[in-house]
Assembly symmetry: D2
Homo-oligomer: 504 residues x 4
């Protein structure tokens, strides 16, 4: 029996939370051409609002420099690269979701670093200088890009301070000091700035409560609550790669939901909640990111995530990324929606499909989402994730859709193990680490979603849309009303065309 | 049983005759943006060597102008537009195959015109002035583009003088005079110019003999013989369109062969023969041009044509064309490989597939062509035309291909009634005469060839390639050797990726 | 003594009338690449709002076609080219100012034509069919581009009906009928459309009164009054060119003023007035259009024109134009701001300079215009036309400008007989009719305005700006406040740079 | 008295040594967009053949990685970034001049580094692994880009090993071992590779002899001798900058000459000599690089350098460079021909002017170079460097040039303290460290060379070209023969154009 999709009109909107923000490798990478070419593709096809990444204040962006002059130590704020980066982002129609960190070497109190690129994760040696730095950065942006523009950029303080890798000793008290100093400085520059934290990863969710209680008791500004969510288990490393188990999407969505729950419990019922990072695996060398299974998995998250949070930011938009060293092959398990050189992964296509959905939701279940555009066109997303051990590798979908009088042209776009799957093509080609130009062209030309077309003939204001979802398939069906102009062609008779004598 | 394809090495080359030249609407249309955008696509994807069209000397290119000054009549040669046109063509990597015609109004002896755009088809009122005009045009080109470049442009005298529509009274004696005067003038400018004629259409093939006899007897230069070939019957008009029967490809190829036969018979055994126009239908409003059937038909011509002639020029590369008035719908039965706005037709894809074949022919039969590139890669073209009344709508193809050790990655690109077929999508959309931007984007996005991939595992230096050709399908199969780098990935085990636990 | 420029604040705005509309060759030319490349340059550098030209309904746009079917005559409205044209215009950010004309051959009552391209200038053979045509065109545009968009396009009925060349017999009664029928039809499609006329040229200004009286008495809609204005005398032809005397700018501005005067006199005091064509010479082969003198002349018109009318439309934006045949040389006296291939003429630079002025007028006199941008920057335009017989070939300009504290960087951009003058370079090169690519590059590279820079040091809130205007010079001076960051460079000492030992 | 320039014909060619190679910041910077945008401009306007920079083997290009697997240490060669870099360079028409260095951390025997970006400058811990690395890199390139292509890339071993900063202890014996091992490995990959050294800087020129003697005595391959040359004295640091004295160009040219002298003395009389780095100052923070004085200085070097060496490579093509940290302002004294964001410096214009000279030298003296193109056009370069203390700030130039019959159009392009000088504009604007988009547009629009035009009228096959060179001016004069077509314009009379009544 087909699922009967109602005719809508009850005002259910597709939340924009899925597109509010996307993650990126450290900000200095935004100086690179491959990165910017990828961002241009992502913005043209998907159109995220904000971009969040680490390393704004790290040495390679080059902002904070102490120097000696006439017997005293002075500070130079150098915005050469920051300007280049922000000019590029804004030029591509995306704004920064500012993450304040990591610590400039010359301002650090210690030498602990994280990642191959050595972000310093120790507290400032001097909070006055830290505050001066924060003030200088925001003020410079305001002067360059205009106050109204810049106050629309959210400000998040640090990254995952509840992990010893990211904040020396995972010292909560020290983080709360950092947050307090920073939040107040930000509000001094302009009280309209939205500032938040604590940007924690999973594992110690009590930080959310601790954080909000601290803010409340000490009168510290807080405009949003942020956390991260991944669903993978411990890393099982192999050289230049790793494997992990992954929990079901529900596990991720439950993590999303904790933010609001804590906010409500702490007396901040309306506090926006941002998932400032999410993905299946938290490792940039796990091949799961490159697969159709990942796309089918994330489909469930995109469809429901907006019920729970104000945004959830896929980590990351492209594979230009160096946390575990320079990537060692075209497909290396990176986080990106796009591999290097703009090769699209299945999850990129999923996001692209989402960007083509309508604003009104007519129906949503575990594997379908039916939407309507303002001009009346329907767009359907369907997906079918096949977990290990599952016996049903395909799924039949039948939908009874509200329809206008007259036929509907349906364009199906498919991504699965056989279609729109650059990783599978690459595997078939023998996993070339460093594909030649010809191989890249071949992979790219095979990585487009497959297209199927059909014409539906509605009966009594209902069109039956039926198809079979293959293994790990994500499918977009776009329906276009047909205005038949055949009557405007006097004498038309296709059967008089050679080769078409038997066509109706 | 699979067809056993030999390993080659006997030096059979794929003739370049199919790509030597392509037709165009009148030359003044080369001032238009849609035209030049289309030509850019065609050159990037196919890469013809020469372009031939009518109207070089017609009023709208504007070359010949008489004026009065100080009591006498003078002539101004105005190359403003000719330069724009030739600059554009050469900039896109295509050269003109010069057709000298039609007659400038001010130089004409009569008022008879052809086409909606009114090309004057009467002899010159003064042959000295005609010769001056020919000399002026060629000399100007030599000065602007360089002598060595310009003498590589073939020069054809007039178009289809054996038809009363194209040459007043189809007066053979007058045409021979025109040819004689022109050929001698051309050779005066530079004896290296290749000059030829008589550019006739079918119906009065004795002109070929008459022409060569005249050249021989009167010592008139002739460097090539040219004619046209179409396989359609009489036009059955409907408003803004027409239908016709079409003879089989053999009929066309037989016409191709007449050129050499006449040349041999007349004692010009080595005279190059150019089919300066060919297509199925000779009408620019016959929908057959828009179909997959047309592509499957032309495939047979492209595969064999080079056996018979030095070139055969598809009439025309795009639908920017006005011989029967301004086109009245996106699909209107125009000659073009591309419809307006660069929408590709099936026959465009056929040509594009041809451009991706290798230079060595390993095998050719009625529905397959197996080629090899210099670097050893095989490329296979297969096609299946289904005529009215045929009972076999599909065809099984099996090929035993010479193969290297190790697997082969095969990329299939398909165009047929269901795939890569803009016209069918347009029909399904209700034949919108003037598609909106959204409809154009939809049609274009559905007009790409479908892609299928597979991996072949050769056995004893032979790979079996098998597939089924659908109705009016044209299929390109490109084979890429796989260099397996899996061994370079220590610890690789895809079954440890979630969702891929059961994969080998 | 310097002219003391006041500090503004009294709300005088620079009228946008100069940029509201620009003229074009017949609309079918908008299919051409040179035309569209030129329009792209003009829009990027100047940014007109509307574009007005002839020939919307002429045969080459191809809209109106009668045909026979099943024994009766029917009409096909063909929007293939109209869509291409309007898609292009709107894509370049300019809208059509619709001029309804000329008459389709098949709808015409006679055979009289105008121009080399033969626009039919006779009344419709059937007013019902004319009204159907008008309705069909507007309705199609509404469907394709949206109602709110299309009703913002002004609709003008016919062109210069007071001339026998443009309207058979200059028959006023017949024009009034055409206007009446058309205006009512337009309003039927949407009452928001702004419809107007009578689009007359000079010579019979009583038509303005006659027209408004007719509208009033017969209750015919009229939303604006339109006329043309040129200041040249009778044409003195030479082959492919002509010379004329030209009256001073005041003569043109007086013509502008007649519109409002007639409207007031007829009881339409608030009726908008559009000068839908103006220029010095009304001939497209008068070399005056190519000169710096023309730019200096038009400067006076641009500066004051907005005092008198709601728009005045320079005829035309580029030399892609064929009213007197195909242009016969790069510079041929065409109307265009740009010559073929985007070679800028002095008058193009004048318009470009105008587009860089601020919105607030601080001062205006006969040869200077001082403006201020919203961000406080001043921009000054100055010009010096040297008429035949004038003794003062240069002019000293001194301005005392309101200034901020601190220095001002002044960038002067100059166009005159020696600078930014493609025509003079072309003359120096021997007037090549058909310049080679190398010559075009040379001309273009010499056609940019010359740039001079200086730093002004204000004294007591006043900066003295002084310069000498050369013969027929148009000069833009843009002033930028200097924020001196020298103090941020510790140790700075330019005298320690080799070669700069003596610099301060 | 004018200098009489002979008519040539004695075969003196302008050496291409000036354009053979150009320097670059470390190769990993070639991943950046600003870098590649700059290289695109440089290649379009100048067209160098090779590009040489440090860091090919450093950690950030990421080629060499050791890892543990199954109990043993293995090496992964990772060409992800190398391919991106080389694809980009070759795509822009420039090839790498390979400098093998610095040492990968994991292959290093010590921890000494050079530069802000920490290039390791210690010998390999294991020469077998070093040789394997060299072999792997070259072999990969051969496989990817083709053997014939890659063997055309020169290979230089290390950089400035005679300096303790660049090679631990400046240990000559250890360098000679490195060279010996490397050169033999390179020749194993393909004997056609050109390998050379010792890439020393000035100060210990005996290394040149020691190196060649070593090669000869030990039978080590050497295909070219390389060294560097700068003419600046000790650095006098200020924060983020420095000043230095600079010796005259002769000092640099004398260093150039040492290479051949040593080669001859050592019995390698035909050994090619490459100056693989040169500039005035060797510091990337010396403002001299940004000045017109630098351009006038380098002009003398470009004009004569080819007399002494096979190439001399300006260090560097753009300011994307981090040896002394992230640049701290738009103009910061960087080596680049282009500042960030493609802002041209005077020395860029000098190189651009050189690229427009003809291949034949008619005359050269200390401040002029007269050349002729193959098509007969003359191009003159003149320059006037004003050193500190000089009394003549301008210089008169008079040349009697061989000339055709008929006038010559002369286009002068000027760069000096007032024209084409972005640095001076930037100073005038108050030295904005981080210019806004508007400031950048302003600087760029003022940074073009000034253009002057004139027409020369030759007398008796001689044209007199006279001009005054301003302070630190570099001037290109391009002469174009005028073919006067005035006679083709019947009725032409410019005095009939309004405003031109008194023109001849």
């Amino acid at each position: 029996m087909d699922v009967v999709v109602p005719d809508g009109g009850d005002g259910r909107r597709l939340s924009e939370a899925w597109r509010y923000c996307v993650g990126t490798g450290r900000l200095a990478l935004a100086l690179r051409q491959d990165y910017l070419d990828s961002l241009a593709v992502v913005q043209a096809e998907i159109g995220f609002r904000y971009l969040r990444g680490h390393g704004l204040l790290s040495d390679d962006v080059g902002i904070y420099r102490e120097y000696e002059w006439q017997g005293s130590t002075r500070v130079l704020y150098n915005f050469t690269y920051l300007d280049q980066i922000l000019d590029s982002l804004l030029g591509l129609g995306i704004r920064p979701f500012l993450e304040l960190g990591f610590m400039p070497s010359q301002l650090a109190s210690g030498e602990q670093t994280v990642f191959w690129w050595r972000g310093n994760v120790t507290p400032p040696k001097d909070y006055d200088r830290w505050n001066d730095l924060v003030r200088a950065v925001l003020t410079h942006c305001v002067e360059r890009y205009g106050r109204d523009e810049v106050v629309s950029w959210p400000v998040e303080v640090w990254n995952e301070p509840n992990l010893v890798n990211f904040w020396q000793g995972a010292d909560q008290a020290e983080y709360f000091r950092l947050y307090r100093e920073t939040a107040r400085t930000v509000k001094e520059v302009d009280p309209r700035f939205q500032v938040g934290g604590p940007a924690i990863c999973g594992g110690t969710d009590h930080w959310l409560t601790d954080f909000l209680v601290m803010c409340r008791e000490q009168g510290v500004p807080v405009d949003f609550l942020s956390r991260h969510a991944y669903s993978s288990g411990p890393a099982q490393p192999v050289p230049f790669g790793c494997y992990q188990t992954v929990e079901p999407p529900r596990y991720l969505l439950d993590q999303f939901a904790t933010g609001r729950a804590h906010a409500v419990a702490c007396g901040y019922p309306d506090l926006p909640v941002h998932i400032t990072e999410f993905n299946t695996s938290y490792k940039p060398v796990n091949p799961v990111h490159d697969t159709a299974w990942n796309a089918a998995y994330v489909a469930s998250v995109l469809a429901e995530g907006g019920d729970h949070v104000d945004s959830f930011s896929y980590w990351t938009f492209c594979d230009v990324f160096e946390e575990e060293d320079v990537p060692t092959a075209l497909f290396h398990g990176g986080f990106g929606l796009l591999a290097h050189r703009q090769v699209p992964k299945p999850t990129f296509h999923l996001y692209r499909f989402f960007a083509r959905l309508g604003a009104e939701v007519l129906h949503r279940d575990e594997h379908t989402l039916v939407t309507r555009h303002a001009d009346g066109r329907l767009a359907v997303l369907a997906w079918h994730r096949v977990d290990d051990g599952a016996t049903e590798t395909t799924r039949e979908v039948g939908l009874s859709l509200p329809a206008p009088t007259g036929p509907l042209f349906a364009k199906h776009s498919l991504v699965d193990e056989e279609h729109g799957n650059a990783w599978q093509v690459w595997r078939s080609l023998g996993r070339p680490r460093f594909p030649t130009e010809a191989q890249l062209e071949l992979i790219t030309s095979c990585a487009r979603p497959a297209v199927r077309t059909e014409v539906l003939t509605p009966v009594e204001d209902r069109a039956a849309l039926r198809f079979t979802l293959g293994r790990n398939q994500v499918r977009l069906v776009e329906l276009h009303p047909v205005h038949d102009e055949t009557g405007d062609y006097p004498g038309l008779d296709d059967t008089r065309i050679p080769g078409y004598g038997d066509r109706s």
